[in-house]
Symmetry: C2
Subunit: 506 residues, 2 copies
């Protein structure tokens, strides 16, 4: 289990946010104000492993280009940590803590967990400059039930009941606490939500948000995200969600089924932005897993966020008889980051080379740049007897990772074998080297797939966002530069292939 | 995806039931009567892949030695199949179909699904000779709601409400139908149970049974097993269960959490025996997965059952604050199948060889026989920084499979990497070659593990039956004969190592 840096560790993802230095985990305090998307995050800037987190800070105007800022909230002492939390815009000065001269959009309040050994409380801090400098409230904590594991507050304004509502994890009791407040300072208990689906070891990072229907922005459902770990179906940590109703006091899930927000191993602690400009639901996840986040290859910093996603809900068929109202995840539009390409508009379906009597190479492209970032789409035809499509993502040293798509009468099984890429690697972790896999039921004649590769992050979306699958991979000796798609006994289209490049910082 | 037979395919598991010829899937009709355990099973004796099932039949007096019999229920025509179902002893002749001269213990009734294209009905058949020869009821079907996917009836006698109760899958509606009958012939609808946890593509093989508490045989809970596939967390098919109450009309689950009866990839369609002699809960699962069951190496027959298991329920800690009333699975006692061994009573804890400065080989044994079957136990000490224990199971050709145990502050992650054993193999399946993994929370100072290897079946039980993990593996060129346990940075005990051998048929 020795960790030695890979040669390509210096290269950051082109479009996925990474911290300047140190170890990053959960996204925190997501808030939009005055044309700026704020992304705070758990940051240990003393080391490359988790420990003593404070709030790092970055901003963006397009959700693709990020600017690093000074730490926004610092721990008051070495034995205290600033754990995860959220931000709101207190435009009406409900807290009474803002000067009237402070612009309403500049009144940012952070609500977060102050962690000390054996005790976690909910504290708040105020920023009068739109989210850059925070001052802790002088009468902290604002919520303390005397527990060791009670954390990760997420607050929204619930107009119908005219109050602030906080969801916060009662971690080891497997409950989400709901609290109400008129002023962000005085909180009273509303209810506890007892989940369904996976429990695992503990609950973390709840996030309640109203999400529009895919085909009707006026209709909305409440979605409660909940992060759980260890205990993920594929191992380690993952993000579950519930779809239901919230009446200002109780959250009621429509049913008790397990719903997984992202079926990969590297999408945790998902949070959504407060106050998005169009009122829609935008969120982000941490692209790692507590099984191995402290040990993946790293030099100056460790771990990335996922791309921001836009969320909706839609009825997704599970079989011929039953549909499920499901979270739809679509990555932020990448078109401004695309390099112009002659063949982007082409659709490749015919075999251009045979690598065995039954296997066709239908697409191959050597990238012009060395960003290690590109996206592509596939339409894979549904068949009843087993067929396979393989996407090989290789670097100039010949190291590669494969995405495998196996289609049969049971549906499509998608996998990335991270064990295979270890061969010859200087890096090894027994909890990382698995073949991550997911499944899409056979409810359509063509499976649509959208894949984004960005240095060491692979995000995959299938069936128009009904299934998301985010996994990291670490190629030795250089970032990926060649994309090869081959197929066996099926008809696949390859299209919308674009190289991606970092954008100039705003 | 070519399948070529391995050289060792001729060798059957020593103690796991396999059919004489043909393709086997679900266990059916489990019933105990007159000192005999009956095991019927879905059998296609025309081919080595699924299709046109009828009921195969075997019996045992010890649940380890099985005797094959003639097919018990045959399909009346080529376009009809005898799908899964159950048997009961109609000792009081509630059906009125038995002659008074038939001994009460000989009155066996099979309740099963008759499958035709687009239509599934529940039919019954009578045996007056204790379960060997069945005659279909002349007025079949006994339950028909006109559906295409309505199958797998399991019937029990519910004394409190003085009726037969059937659970049957409304497969694509994700419901378990409950029906009541005074006579096994006339059935009326009692309720539908809507599950929690995973839905996947469809529900199959429900099984309702009263299960005693681990420490108090007089206290019991109702357990509803439910098989689901595809859609298993690890891919393909798996068995979920609910713990709750049944009042003669409704089953009420105690909560809505996902509970998995076996965390491996090869334990499906679990059923329990009707009328067990001590009134306790004994069951068995099919040791395969619909992802690849038609394609694993095979010559005269394909697939095995798990070992029979004894079930109880016990509060199992999930973390320091919360326990979960969980199914406890223990394999049937294997002591009569053990070869005498000089070192069985020994406990190995000291390194006998260093394979690297930090890795100790603590145990190695070359089996005397060539049964490919052995069992062993491990006690692995809980540690907070990552440690690893590796169990290597090798054949004389040097092919091997490893069980890996990674222990850290998050608990113990157990895996079997089936991808690695492909190297050099003539057999390959993209849905088989994954690294199957499970997790045990860090709620104890020592993790106890019991492993049974039997040619191509590996059954693992941890924390005194709280976690079960069944997976098949296929070594090329010979069955396993060498067991090697090595460890890195932890203290492990190896004990109760026994070779196992087939027993003479009764």
């Amino acid at each position: 289990m020795t960790v030695i840096a890979n040669r390509n560790e210096g290269q950051r993802p082109a479009l996925h946010f990474t911290p300047k230095i140190g170890f990053m985990n959960d996204p925190n305090g997501l808030v939009y104000s005055k044309g700026v998307w704020h992304l705070y995050y758990q940051l240990n800037d003393r080391n490359l492993v988790a420990g003593h987190p404070e709030w790092g800070h970055a901003t963006s105007t397009d959700l693709l280009t990020w600017k690093w800022h000074e730490k926004a909230i610092k721990a008051p002492s070495d034995h205290e940590s600033i754990f995860s939390g959220c931000c709101v815009v207190d435009c009406n000065n409900t807290s009474g803590e803002f000067d009237e001269s402070t612009g309403s959009d500049d009144r940012i309040v952070a609500i977060y967990t102050l962690h000390t050994q054996g005790h976690q409380t909910q504290d708040i801090a105020f920023s009068s400059d739109g989210g850059y400098i925070f001052t802790p409230y002088k009468h902290n904590p604002v919520l303390d039930i005397g527990w060791a594991d009670f954390r990760d507050p997420k607050v929204l304004w619930h107009a119908l009941s005219n109050q602030w509502v906080m969801v916060v994890a009662k971690c080891h009791q497997f409950k989400v606490g709901f609290y109400g407040s008129p002023d962000l300072v005085h909180w009273h208990h509303l209810s506890d939500f007892e989940g369904a689906g996976v429990r695992g070891y503990q609950y973390e990072m709840p996030n309640l948000v109203e999400v529009p229907f895919d085909d009707d922005n006026q209709r909305k459902k409440w979605v409660l995200f909940l992060s759980i770990g260890p205990g993920a179906p594929l191992g380690g940590s993952f993000t579950q969600y519930y779809v239901g109703e919230f009446d200002g006091t109780n959250f009621t899930s429509d049913d008790n089924y397990l719903r997984t927000a992202d079926l990969g191993k590297d999408w945790y602690a998902a949070q959504t932005w407060f106050n998005s400009p169009d009122g829609k639901a935008y969120g982000i996840g941490w692209a790692s897993n507590w099984q191995y986040c402290n040990r993946v290859p790293a030099e100056r910093y460790r771990s990335a966020m996922s791309l921001p996603r836009k969320f909706t809900v839609r009825e997704v068929p599970l079989n011929a008889n039953t549909k499920s109202l499901s979270l739809i995840s679509r990555p932020i539009d990448l078109s401004i980051a695309r390099l112009p390409s002659n063949d982007a508009a082409m659709v490749y379906t015919n075999g251009s080379a045979k690598i065995s009597p039954s296997i066709d190479v239908i697409y191959q492209r050597h990238m012009q740049g060395s960003t290690g970032a590109f996206e592509f789409k596939l339409n894979i035809k549904s068949v009843t007897s087993p067929a396979r499509v393989t996407v090989d993502i290789a670097n100039p040293s010949g190291r590669s990772v494969q995405l495998n798509f196996v289609v049969d009468d049971q549906g499509m099984f998608i996998s990335m074998d991270r064990g295979r890429i270890r061969t010859g690697s200087s890096w090894d972790h027994p909890l990382f080297d698995d073949k991550v896999c997911m499944w899409v039921p056979s409810t359509q004649t063509v499976y649509d797939v959208h894949v984004i590769i960005d240095v060491y992050v692979c995000e995959l979306f299938a069936i128009d966002g009904a299934y998301a699958f985010t996994n990291t991979f670490f190629l030795q000796d250089g970032v990926a530069s060649t994309l090869t798609v081959s197929q066996e006994v099926t008809d696949t289209e390859v299209f919308d292939v674009y190289e991606l490049c970092p954008l100039a910082s705003a």
